[in-house]
Amino acid sequence: MKIEILGTGCAKCKQLMANAQKAVKESGVQAEVIKVEDISQIMNYNVMTTPALVIDGEVKSAGRVLSADDIKKIII
């Protein structure tokens, strides 16, 4: 599973990243968590509000910092 965190680098994006990593660790799901800060790549997903969570190429949430629990529910 490939989890991408889209964000231009502010505190919220870092928080989402941390929450995603925690969710992966706690759920035991095999996944890599990548931070995407490049504008072109972010725009490719048609996302207008960051931070955004993308799983295997699909945008799961945008503009919100999901908690680790919320993320766990999505990835399991």
Binding site: K12, I39, S40, Q41, M43, N46, M48, T49, T50, G63
Partner: protein
């Protein structure tokens, strides 16, 4: 309604001496803090419900093919109800431009969003009364609309940074929200905002209370009173690199005006601090050439300065 309770708390429970400066400062601090937090909770909640009806996708759709002036007005109005986190500045800006929203209209939105929001409204209302709050919103809108129109006319499309990306396909519409969804969202958003700003509100009010109690009245008149003509541009320029959300800066503004800073000057400062910020510029630099960024700051800055003078003149 709240004041008698606070007075009772300060003078009967804490047993602070009547008439002492410290008592007054504490009283002011407690009263304002509670009043403002109550207002914040209620109004942020209400506005976030409204916000659930205006997702970025929908906002973009509404704005994409409007003729210039209507577009600028709508964009500025929509900017009031849409949140603005500096980090979203770039994707939002690009998303709008890509969808065919005219550049000037996008800029109107960019100016209005951080400058006019429910937090600013509540705090201004709470500390200065509804007339000032309304005046601020009105002039903020005018600055946003005018800046957008001016920039739109400058034909600055060539000053956007080029970069490669796929042409976006159909816009993914936001999921439909039920009433419960909206309420959950509003609750979450309200709590988030409060968590983010509560410390600034307390510090701001604390500073204000201190100034209220301990700095002599008219202390600042010499430097920033109405007669000092360059106070407005100075306040604006000083405000540009600083960044704070409205919560942090308004209580300070309140105390400053009490000590002699002209209201127009103080409001210019506040507008400059919220609408133009160094962190936001740094992020926008990725999609705008420096020249456009400077044009943006200059046009809005001039608008703010003009508004400051206007306020000072009207309120004389």
């Amino acid at each position: 309604m709240i004041k008698p309770v606070i007075d009772w708390l300060v003078y009967e429970i804490f047993k602070m001496p009547h008439g002492a400066i410290l008592s007054e400062a504490v009283d002011f601090f407690l009263y304002d803090t509670i009043k403002i937090f109550l207002l914040l909770v209620v109004i942020i909640f209400i506005v976030s419900i409204i916000r659930t009806f205006f997702s970025p996708e929908k906002t973009r759709a509404i704005l994409s093919n409007k003729r210039t002036y209507t577009g600028n007005i709508l964009a500025s109005l929509l900017g009031i109800v849409t949140p603005f986190c500096s980090c979203s500045a770039v994707p939002l800006f690009l998303g709008f431009v890509e969808a065919g929203v005219p550049l000037g209209v996008t800029f109107s939105f960019l100016v209005a969003s951080p400058m006019i929001n429910e937090v600013a409204l509540v705090m201004l209302w709470g500390l200065f009364g509804w007339k000032i709050a309304l005046l601020y919103i009105g002039s903020g809108l005018v600055v946003a609309i005018a800046s957008g129109i001016v920039i739109g006319h400058l034909k600055v499309e060539g000053l956007l940074e080029k970069f490669d990306h796929k042409k976006p396909g159909c816009v993914v519409p936001g999921a439909v929200m039920t009433v419960k969804d909206r309420i959950d969202f509003a609750k979450e958003y309200t709590v988030d905002i409060l968590k983010k700003i509560w410390i600034y509100v307390i510090i701001g009010i604390g500073l204000g209370a201190w100034i209220h109690g301990f700095v002599p009245a008219d202390f600042l008149v010499k430097f920033a009173g109405r007669e000092n003509w360059f106070a407005v541009p100075l306040a604006t320029v000083v405000g540009i690199p600083l960044y704070s959300n409205a919560a942090g800066v308004i209580p300070l503004v309140s105390a400053l005006t009490e000590k002699g800073v002209a209201l127009g000057t103080a409001l210019s400062f506040m507008m400059a601090v919220t609408a133009l910020s160094l962190p936001e510029f740094l992020i926008l630099r990725r999609v705008m050439k420096l020249k456009l960024l400077i044009i943006f700051a200059a046009v809005v800055g001039v608008g703010i300065i003009f508004t400051g003078y206007l306020f000072n003149y009207i309120l004389r």
